[in-house]
Amino acid sequence: MDTFAARRNIIAFVILLIAVIFLVKLFLIQVVSSDYTPAATNNVVRRITQYPARGLIYDRNGELLVYNQAAYDIMVNPQHLSHFDTTEFCRILKIERSYLEKKLQEAKNYSRYKPSIFLKLVSSETYARLQEKMYKFPGFFVQPRTVRKYKYDNASHVLGYVGEVSDKLVDTSSYYKSGDYIGASGLEKSYEGVLRGDKGVKIYLVDVHNRIKGSYNNGRYDEKAEVGTNIVSTLDIDLQRYGEKLMENKIGSIVAIEPATGEILSLVSTPGYDPGLMVGRQRTRNYQNLQQDTLEPLFNRGLMARYPPGSTFKVMNALIGRQEGVLYPGTTYECHGGFYAGNFHMGCHNHPSPVDLIESIKVSCNNYYAHVFKRILQDAEFESISKAFTNWKSHLQSFGLGDKLNIDLPSEVAGFLPTVDYYNKYYGKNRWGYLNVISLAIGQGELGITPVQMANTTSAIANRGHFYTPHIVKRIEGEETIQQRFQQKHETMVDSVYFEEVIEGMDLAVNGEPGTGSTARTARVDSITVCGKTGTAENPHGKDHSIFIAFAPKDDPQIALAVYIENGGFGATWAAPTAKLMIEKYLKGGPDIQWWEDYVTSANLLNKKEEDEEED
């Protein structure tokens, strides 16, 4: 009979044992362990960043300057790659096979399971061609981006450009991730927070092939991307473009400001570059080319170049002298070819003599200002030249010289005004007198003033004693006002009553009768009273720089500007007519006499750098 019946119990036991083992194991992985739920979430959840379009930038008259264009990053996820027609792929994307191989290896090195950028910023046309064939290239997908598009190839120094965030910023910022774009210069940089908007995220469920299967939790945790805020710039793009045209083939800068508000109407720095070069795949190469250019097109001369102001500085010394009570309208000095003090001689050009205050500006007399400056520094009110000098300097500072103006553009420099310490160190304490620093009287020597500072000073003069910090943004969409600091009136230390004679002098410098010694008749416009002052900055490295400051109209100033043309020689030669044309453009839409425009635009001063000063 059945002698092994007892074995059924062992079999039953084995069955139950297996069941218990399974249930214990299941209990461990399902109930005890909590590692699997996040692993599951990780599997199916893809967070896809939604990149917002950057805010648009308009000029002061509402003309669109900067907008966005769709571009596409080709992404690759190595884990989903399989064999594909590499020849066709390279042909569609117009890339070399070596590039393909290099990038695929890089992507694999970065992560086998995470997507990385294969090819940046492909155009819509290429994208369209690729999209048709996309099914042939598993593992690749497209990430839409937006890139900047510029209506004009002008104003690059103002608008700035957008670049990829640095690794350093990625490490320290909670907002920026690798591959994000950020304003890298100009307006794009200083208003990054406004323009960039806010990235959003869409959370998708994906299957094992990374195909999107639907939104996670019906999109409850999605965050919408906030489009960047639009900005209206203070720039007048017509004026800006005109300025750039006038400055073609010249090194220098024009800064024009609306005196009543401090709004920057144009900020030209030449040579410049096409802002469109700083976009897209060629950006790196273009940037390198620009960086290697010896004319330094990336250098924003308007904010960063420091020049001695030359004779334009005489108006400052006139104003300070008046305020300090060492100079009166009737004060006259005779000029016989310059200023003589013992063995010292500072030359002057030929002009009617003697001159009073107004005349001194009109004819730009060096001797006159040597005397004025001497009296400022030897003012009995002060116990020492140091105190007098410091007082003089603080007057200048009240015009915004020697310090950063804190305008709303990056990379502005402070410029340079010498201090008492500076001369003490150079000559020894109390070992220097007015003669040591006499070149400051006529704006030469140890002075470094940027074009924007000079334009601001001119604006303060046009305003008869006050200014508003220059700024580039007129309005931020959705906001009532611009920043408070740009609405704050800065009073200079010179009372407004002292400005009239100086302005009269500037008027006559431009509009004086021919043959009476007016130095800036090249800036004359028939229908507008332009007030201006020429300057010539001594340049130890080559031909002098041509400088002109001006505002117009005299009694209701709409525009104040400073023009710097490197190696341009006398202020009256190039800078004054350039300023005149700018004023005409802004106030009347164009020049009265076309000849002047042709005269300026046809000039090529790029090669004058090393030439000797022309005889005059």
Binding site: R7, A12, I18, S33, Y36, V206
Partner: protein, 474 residues
């Protein structure tokens, strides 16, 4: 003496209910596993869940047909049916359609059919027929050879079809033999071979040689109870080992350590046989046969593993033995399967809410890995219910088998239990990482007509036999 019985009133309804419950659970989980928005109707026949409903309906018809056929049919035609299926297996091996690398399918238009599934049934039948015949003494070489013919021939053909999973199912019939009185010695021997297999893979041939030598010395002591014999044997081996090593070293022969030890072992064995014969030490020959047998097994395991198994099979075994950890390679499926089940937590994500299975992270989610869907969507509670249902079915079948009066019915019952249990252990075990990944379906649950029908026939033949159990009065 014969009694007329009513088939329907004598059916073991508990078994039938468990069967229907499992089939139903399988169906709704297949629906969930392959659910997609475009085909929401569970009756969409273009989808797997729609098709499975057809298979299920057909399975019910098959079940009823089986109940109608006379119970003696199965015993009478057992050998014939087995022979027919073996023929089919040969045919399919030669002319079958290849799917997933296995040439195991016959295709008739749209219908695919896997004879291996049915070989399990006929093997169980033939085995029952043979073991229930009179004058059979199990533990004899002649019986072993006949049993091997019944079990190993289909297994070998299926192996040739490259369907390792299905072939391995036939090893489950050891359970039947065990119940019928398979000697413990043979069983132990089997266990020993399996242990050798595993140790060879984990620790290597050299270790197995040392281990079996040590084991042989211990057994020598147990058999003779005299330390002297052991010391002498060990001494001879050490001396000859040293000698061989020295020769290898001095003459710089660069023979591998493995062969040096093997050579020393052979040399010392011959020496020891002569010595043992001289001193009349008993059972030395048997021990040496076992020792060299073991080393032979270890060597062939190593050889077979490295030369005959395909790399994915090697990887699966290595993965399980903990020799290889590569969660994104061979371990990917297991890892994903565990993530799916583990993320179900206690109560599960809810019907149709599983993401791991639906989004293809788990492979074969409607067939071999269907348990993942259950674990993910119904949680530990669902797993518990499913395992309980299976255990209840198996224990119920055990009870039914034991109440049979005819040996044929009982043995066949154990055949059914063996096959179902093996599938259950391997299938669920692999989804939770306890056994290697062997692609066999979970009975009644997994998608597929062939397997559902085969399991239905397997089970209902036994239910039919059980109905007629009282006909046989011994």
């Amino acid at each position: 003496m014969k009694r007329r019985i009513n088939v329907w009133s004598n059916i073991d309804w508990l078994t039938v209910i468990l069967y229907v419950l499992l089939v139903f659970l399988g169906w709704i989980n297949i629906y969930s596993a392959v659910y997609n928005e475009e085909h929401q109707s569970i009756l969409d026949f273009s989808q797997r869940y729609g098709k499975q409903l057809i298979w299920i309906s057909a399975a019910f018809v098959i079940a009823i047909l089986i109940m109608i056929i006379d119970s003696n049919f199965y015993s009478f035609f057992a050998y014939f049916l087995h022979f027919v299926v073996l023929l089919l297996l040969v045919v399919v091996t030669l002319f079958g359609t290849e799917i997933h690398g296995s040439r195991a399918w016959l295709e008739f238009g749209n219908v695919r059919f896997q004879p291996a599934e049915f070989a399990k049934i006929t093997t169980a039948l033939a085995l029952a027929r043979y073991l229930s015949s009179h004058n059979i003494t199990l533990n004899r070489m002649k019986t072993y050879l006949r049993l091997a013919l019944i079990i190993l021939v289909p297994m070998a053909i299926i192996l040739l079809q490259n369907d390792t999973g299905s072939a391995l199912v036939f090893t489950a019939f050891i359970l039947v033999l065990y119940r019928q009185g398979l000697s413990l010695g043979v069983l132990l021997f089997g266990v020993y071979v399996i242990a050798l297999f595993i140790f060879t893979l984990i620790l290597g041939k050299l270790f197995v040689i040392f281990g079996t030598i040590g084991l042989a010395l211990i057994v020598l002591w147990i058999l003779n109870k005299r330390f002297k014999y052991v010391w002498v044997a060990a001494g001879i081996l050490l001396i000859s080992g040293g000698l061989f090593y020295g020769i290898n070293y001095v003459f710089q022969l660069n023979v591998s350590m493995y062969y040096v030890i093997l050579g020393a072992l052979v040399f010392s064995s011959i020496f020891y046989i002569i010595l043992a014969y001289w001193h009349k030490v008993s059972r030395v020959m048997l021990l040496l046969v076992l020792l060299f047998g073991s080393i032979g097994v270890a060597y062939s395991v190593d050889h077979v593993f490295n030369n005959f198994l395909e790399s994915h099979q090697q990887k699966r075994i290595n993965q399980l033995l903990g020799l290889e950890s590569d969660p994104l390679g061979a371990g990917y499926n297991i890892n994903q399967s565990k993530i799916a089940i583990g993320s179900g937590r206690l109560t599960g994500k809810g019907f149709l809410n599983g993401t791991q299975t639906k989004f293809d992270f788990v492979p074969e989610q409607s067939t071999d890995f269907i348990f993942c869907t259950i674990g993910e969507e119904w949680g530990f509670i669902g797993s518990f219910v499913l395992i309980s249902l299976f255990i209840m079915l198996l224990l119920r079948l055990l009870f039914l088998a034991e109440r049979q009066r005819s040996a044929f019915s009982r043995i066949y019952g154990y055949g059914v239990i063996s096959v179902l249990f093996f599938h259950f252990v391997i299938n669920i075990g692999m989804t939770i990482g306890l056994v290697p990944v062997i692609g066999i379906p979970l009975p009644f649950i997994s998608y597929g007509g062939s397997s559902l029908w085969a399991f239905t026939i397997l089970l209902f033949v036994f239910i039919r036999l059980d109905v007629s159990r009282l006909k046989v009065l011994q």
